[in-house]
Symmetry: C4
Subunit: 208 residues, 4 copies
Amino acid sequence: MFTGLNQKLTEELLEAIRFFNLKGWSPATSTNYSVRSENKSEYIISRSGVDKSKFCGSDLILINQKGEILPPFNKPGIKSSAETEIHTAVYEMFPEVNCVLHTHSVLGTVLSHSLVQEKQIRFEGFEILKGIEGNKTHDLVETLPIVPNSQVMSEILNNVKGRLDKNSHGFLIAGHGLYSWGKDIATAKRHIETYEFLFECYHMMRRF
Amino acid sequence: MFTGLNQKLTEELLEAIRFFNLKGWSPATSTNYSVRSENKSEYIISRSGVDKSKFCGSDLILINQKGEILPPFNKPGIKSSAETEIHTAVYEMFPEVNCVLHTHSVLGTVLSHSLVQEKQIRFEGFEILKGIEGNKTHDLVETLPIVPNSQVMSEILNNVKGRLDKNSHGFLIAGHGLYSWGKDIATAKRHIETYEFLFECYHMMRRF
Amino acid sequence: MFTGLNQKLTEELLEAIRFFNLKGWSPATSTNYSVRSENKSEYIISRSGVDKSKFCGSDLILINQKGEILPPFNKPGIKSSAETEIHTAVYEMFPEVNCVLHTHSVLGTVLSHSLVQEKQIRFEGFEILKGIEGNKTHDLVETLPIVPNSQVMSEILNNVKGRLDKNSHGFLIAGHGLYSWGKDIATAKRHIETYEFLFECYHMMRRF
Amino acid sequence: MFTGLNQKLTEELLEAIRFFNLKGWSPATSTNYSVRSENKSEYIISRSGVDKSKFCGSDLILINQKGEILPPFNKPGIKSSAETEIHTAVYEMFPEVNCVLHTHSVLGTVLSHSLVQEKQIRFEGFEILKGIEGNKTHDLVETLPIVPNSQVMSEILNNVKGRLDKNSHGFLIAGHGLYSWGKDIATAKRHIETYEFLFECYHMMRRF
């Protein structure tokens, strides 16, 4: 349905979505994904309720900054992700961000659920930290905010907004999973992979 | 062998069977799967004893409500799954159910074996709970009955029937695995994925 | 190189070898596999030292009951598996066995290494036990002998032979892995999958 | 871009890179790989910053012994791996080595991070030890040096050089991962697989 640059973006986004599904990070129709379209005030986003092991080009739709589905995608039965508001809020907060990804791994779920009282998860000293944009060394501390889960997106956003700045690249929703973003799809995918790898290191270190 | 709607159903069922096998949820010819046929009083079900890594269309056969194999599938050497009676019983109990799936994962085996005295496993507060039909929030408790294993299907059914109602979407047989179902193949597959993901969260939380 | 029935056997054996490699059960050129050829006193066996992720038809050779490579396979540089003697001994002990498989998983390695003093590993009450030929119920105890590792095959065979009878379907070599067999390739593959699944259950139960 | 023997080498190297990525040993643009070219004083090495799930032939470039990119690969924006210096140093130390590989697995990261004070990791008694060149038995002890991580390659090399001799086949950088090598790509790949398998055995034994 998309053409030109938007078609290229959807192809790259689909590749990332398939990669995450093979990793087991998008069970049971969970997760959602978006990329800023060629028209910078519109976003290409995943439809609600689709099995990610079968996700394809026709499951991506175009929305505006209010999260409204744009023609020709606004057909009966087509809904944008229930978490569309998180995507539009991230794009609004960070004009340089062009891709927002969300994974729902077992470790992302369990760590955020277990550590929600601590309000953050803290990583230190791993080489993989260089996978986060701007980090030039392993010798630093990186934290990821954790906010309580809610079915009301504005509650999640109210909790997390004050804790994000331009050096932020993601956050965890308790018992729900990871949001991360980047200047392009490759960077956002790298951030997701980095955080998911850090979750595994964190969990293994904790019980070493 | 199937045509029309039944052919489409078998293709979708085969896709789910392959997906589960890649996950490692159907080792050593274990597991069985069915879908209600176009004729609602007949069911398409997996043959007994087939390696699920090689399972194909000719391994699906048609049975009636008594579990008898219907022509042209009633050939010498062709047997329906040993657990056919569980499938027919679920369809009888729940007229709105159109697909019954069974997985045999390591975690489904070990959790049900270890928790059989507690008669159930209990999940609370995870976003993935919304993967179960009817759940609109993570903020609830979901339980899955566990019944002792038996080689006599009527014993399993006698134990589980009184514990299922129309809000039930599955149960565990101790040391054996998960049965789940839904209004269509996609819903039943989503339920299996949701429960298997919850098993992983449960196990990880227990030893956090 | 093989024709007729032997060609069919090699194709089925290759499929099992690829399946095990994807499971991670044949790291670093480890493991070996054989099937009794159409001529029942000859065996088709894997060559020594081949990366199993690249294993193909030309890596299977024909040997006789003494383990000697038969023409046209007896070319310079072609060696039969270092553990050929175990394969020929199993075929000699059990005339009804037509396939011998060996996997080298992390769990097979660690469990056999850790439990070698107990001389066996014991499984009880799991439905998957029905994956072992002859078992009609989950309600039984199955044991698998464990023998110390050695680079001298006759030592391994001397230790294990007295502990195997016609109801035996495999054994473990400490820190080395699993041998299992069956009346055909499908049965031997099912036995390997069953034991490897039991190893996972055993390990998870032990630390539940 | 490569021809003749170099083309064959790049194809084999790409196959190993894809294998490691499927194992999850190269997350988030981490890791680097090289092979000695037909001209023995030049090396084919992976470009910096490429997603290994998409890595292809055009991501391999030619460098000399000083790590300088050679024509026609020396184009704007093309950078050799940040760890090029480790590769060139290994080739200089060991003239018989023709391939150097680096993986970044969760276990390689966590074990090296946790055991850095012990300065090495020690493996004993596993059959898989025969995967290391020159080992004829499982009945031996193999150690792998661990050095602290640094963003200055000369620091890493100063720490590790005195601890390597011609019987060495690899080392760990703390919180960073594994370097290993061999006389050809197959041997270096086998070493990586062997060490990664040993990491899994070590970790499982430690908490058995």
